[in-house]
Subunit: 148 residues, 2 copies
Amino acid sequence: MPDASLLFRTFNEIGIIAQLAQTRFEAVMPTGMTLAQFTVLNHLVRLGGPKSPLAMANAFQVTKATMSSTLTRMEAKKLVSVIPNPKDARGKLVDVTEAGRTIRETCIKAIEPDLKRWSINLKLSDMEVLVGQLAVLRLYLDKDRANR
Amino acid sequence: MPDASLLFRTFNEIGIIAQLAQTRFEAVMPTGMTLAQFTVLNHLVRLGGPKSPLAMANAFQVTKATMSSTLTRMEAKKLVSVIPNPKDARGKLVDVTEAGRTIRETCIKAIEPDLKRWSINLKLSDMEVLVGQLAVLRLYLDKDRANR
DNA sequence: ACTATATAGTTAGATATCGAACTTAAGGAG
DNA sequence: CTCCTTAAGTTCGATATCTAACTATATAGT
């Protein structure tokens, strides 16, 4: 399979970029803030309203166990509120707190210089193409996973 | 003006794909084998000869602490041999064992059906373009990190 | 209504990962 | 030769992540 090495290189590049981007992000964040936690804050602020842990786990492609772990820490830091779902006693509803909104703003400001520099140095037209291709690949892998 | 959301979406896609690919890889691996460990085996087999832990850490863009952790487990499983560097008493030399070579082959066979299916369903010409763009992005981020 | 199955979350145990602090060894400046 | 700085690895404590097993609740089939 001469094509295997192409796929392998692709996933390898993707893995390294994910690693570099995440590490850089967390290096400039306020102490204790992680990409996973920021992603939760961002999701709740942008999409609004309370969400169930499972819905967020699905949105971020992580397991519910992972989401449970992250939310426990976020609730301890009072970045989110977690209440029982009144419509379903099995479920919970998570929402961002005022403290969470404030920290999200701080995070966005902290990463801004990097984003600005990257925007200047990377060809944005190329990035448009890239993100489109990545979306195709991501959708395929997700579908493939479900049907395997 | 700098389109932060475009960069954000790009890194988000990359993070999700890295996650999906790694999880799938480890799901089909022999018990206990991880992507990190396979990567070490592959590196030693393909490039040959003993390598220092630090050199591999740099090659994979992880910290030496991470490499130390992974190598400890691999040595315990006898997938690699680790000896002191006779030229430098601070350093070590890592090489793959026969057991490591054998397991690497098993891993490659295990992921083959996935690679084959993906090769069939993904447009390989698109993948060629994609991997090229990813390489550009990765090189930029790596350079940017060093010079920041 | 009862029972079987499905769903939402948690917990346990494992690996990978980071940064920071530490140990030991090498190399260079006086 | 001694001292200071750099370099290679390890250790520690933390987070994220997975799978597997568990609890509790909801829903469906008979």
